[in-house]
């Protein structure tokens, strides 16, 4: 996704000289072209995320559109208070971008697992939270956050679900995308793990004749309430899929929404991280399997709720 983001940002920055890319000394090789072509719009602030965010706020308050970029938890948790107090409270036009959602950097260890960021960022008022699941969504989301005033968080992933954009399709922040129709259950995914949800839907159809609706919930704030309610009303149950702890992220969002509006799903399961930090390391693929986040785990969850409903 980082290449899609980098290219989309370069296109935007060529058109608008107020777009500034600020990195906390990360993104090796990703921004070479950007840096070469638009050196005045590129700023490496060094390994100093708190200052990076504060500087971005100062520039945003003066009319610039700064993107702060780093990996894992560095552009979010490391400078969370700067995001809350300086960016969000002032509705500063700062775009926080993290590459490395979930286990993207799985082998680097716990420090590099971004597995609580969605819950934490979506709790902050006035912030837009976007977590694209495919390359098309990444490109579209990058353009969309520039047009969205105020502080935005863009969570990028190493994995992705290819290109799911359809000809003529319009991307809107806050509008979920239904990628498959089905009534037996709904798989709602956010981020690159959308690929596992699509894989699981294929397997369920082929091997079990279970038709799953698949929804890409690329925006967690604002989010598409009507699509969630439709899934609860129209399908046999909801399985949420996120490379994130089960608390407070996508699954939490959907559970609290459906209870609040009085449309609990017929069955509900959150595929996500449980049971503490992931101390094991490995590839994203390995860790998904190891922590029951892969397509097989999603298939099992659907089979389980299907048996409950039958």
């Amino acid at each position: 996704m980082k290449e899609s983001f980098s290219l989309a940002l370069l296109k935007l920055a060529r058109k608008d000289e107020n777009v500034i890319l600020i990195t906390g000394d990360l993104g090796f090789g990703v921004f070479d072209r950007f840096r070469e072509e638009l050196p005045d719009q590129f700023l490496n602030v060094g390994v100093a995320e708190q200052n990076m965010t504060g500087v971005a706020v100062g520039m945003a308050l003066e009319g610039y559109i700064p993107f702060t970029y780093s990996i894992g938890n560095f552009p979010t948790l490391r400078c969370l208070e700067q995001i809350r107090n300086d960016a969000a409270y002032h509705r500063a036009n700062v775009k926080v971008v993290a590459i490395g959602g979930g286990f993207s950097y799985g082998a680097l260890g716990m420090s590099h697992h971004a597995t609580e960021d969605l819950a934490i960022m979506r709790a902050i008022p006035e912030i837009t939270v976007v977590s694209p699941g495919c390359l098309w969504e990444t490109e579209q989301a990058t353009e969309a956050i520039v047009k969205t005033p105020g502080t935005c968080y863009l969570r990028l992933d190493k994995s992705h679900a290819g290109n799911t954009g359809r000809p003529g399709e319009v991307f809107s922040i806050g509008k979920a995308r239904r990628l498959r129709e089905g009534l037996d259950a709904t798989l709602i995914a956010t981020g690159g793990i959308l690929s596992e949800a699509l894989l699981a839907a294929d397997r369920l159809q082929l091997e079990h004749r279970i038709d799953c609706r698949v929804v890409s919930m690329h925006s967690l704030k604002p989010f598409d309430k009507s699509e969630i309610v439709a899934a609860a009303k129209e399908t046999g149950g909801i399985i949420t899929v996120e490379e994130h702890v089960v608390e407070g992220g996508l699954g939490g969002l959907i559970a609290e929404t459906l209870l609040q509006v009085g449309h609990p799903p017929r069955a509900f399961h959150r595929v996500g991280l449980r049971g503490g930090f992931a101390s094991a390391v490995g590839s994203q693929e390995f860790l998904r399997k190891n922590y029951d986040l892969d397509s097989s785990a999603i298939v099992s969850a659907v089979l389980q709720i299907s048996s409950l409903c039958s």
């Binding site: 060094g46 200052n51 504060g54 500087v55 706020v57 520039m59 308050l61 003066e62 700064p66 300086d86």
Partner: protein, 273 residues
């Protein structure tokens, strides 16, 4: 701006009286920290800062950030004295429903550039503003009022590196060096000395002044930037609680609220000054 004929010494006295009333009536803390910087604020708002109360968002205004947000009462008082909002509003400070919060807030308060309260935020934001001014060729200057205790925060040292690296000579940090932080003396908590040397070693122009001597403060602000291509730090040696004898140099008056006899005694001293 302040009415003609009012000196910055007059203004400082009024700021201290406002702050006493605001903190006593609202029941808030931090009078000591407001008094140590009252002379600095009076000199800034009494003429050194280029601001326009009739046009608070004037593009070329100097940006002033109170990074030691806990001393907000003093800045609110200065803004009201200058006409950014009504003096009567000061009476709401720290009270239910007011937007004059204990730590300075921009919402509803013209003239406040940045809401603060958590220490170690202002200098980074100020650096971003100063960089923006350089990039866009604007002539405004950025002033960040810091505390000494605040210099414990590592984020400030990130910003200190950054501002020097980017040669932000349109940025001035002012440190209210009253030598007392929340619970104890700075020297007993996390020593800063040799303080001026540290800033100089990080690439800043450094000037030390008596933070209660208006002529020294005015001269320092008139000479900015101290060195072309470098941000400037004005290290203002001050006395916590300055202006009321029993509050001066006292850790107690970081948090204590002056009430009843203490309030009356303080008011008497200030009015007689």
């Amino acid at each position: 701006m302040i009415s003609p004929g009012t000196t910055t010494v007059d203004l400082a006295k009024r700021l201290r009286i406002h702050v006493l009333r605001m903190t006593s009536s609202g029941g808030s803390s931090h009078i000591g920290a407001a008094y140590s910087m009252a002379d600095i604020i009076a000199v800034l708002y009494g003429g050194s800062l280029r601001v326009d109360p009739r046009n608070p968002n004037w593009e070329n205004r100097d940006r002033f950030i109170l990074s030691k947000g806990h001393a907000g009462a003093c800045v609110y008082a200065a803004l009201a004295e200058c006409g950014f909002f009504e003096l009567a509003k000061l009476e709401t400070h720290y009270k239910d429903g007011s937007d004059l919060s204990g730590h300075v807030s921009h919402l509803g308060n013209p003239g406040v550039e940045l809401s603060t309260g958590s220490l170690g935020h202002g200098l980074s934001v100020g650096s971003g503003m100063a960089l923006a001014a350089k990039k866009s060729g604007k002539a405004f200057r950025v002033f960040v009022q810091m505390s000494d205790g605040e210099c414990d925060e590592g984020s400030n040292w990130e910003a200190i590196l950054f501002a020097a690296h980017h040669r932000l000579d349109n940025l001035t940090a002012i440190v209210d060096y009253n030598k007392i932080q929340s619970l104890d003396l700075v020297s007993q908590t996390l020593g800063l000395e040799p303080f001026a040397d540290k800033w100089a070693a990080f690439g800043w122009g450094v000037v030390e002044v008596d933070g209660h001597d208006h002529d020294q403060l005015r001269a320092a602000f008139a000479a900015l930037p101290l060195q072309g291509g470098k941000p400037t730090v004005v290290i203002a040696h001050t006395i916590k609680g300055r202006g009321v004898s029993f509050m001066e140099n006292s850790v107690l008056w970081h948090y204590r609220t002056g009430r009843a006899e203490e309030y009356e005694a303080a008011l008497k001293e200030l009015e007689a000054s």
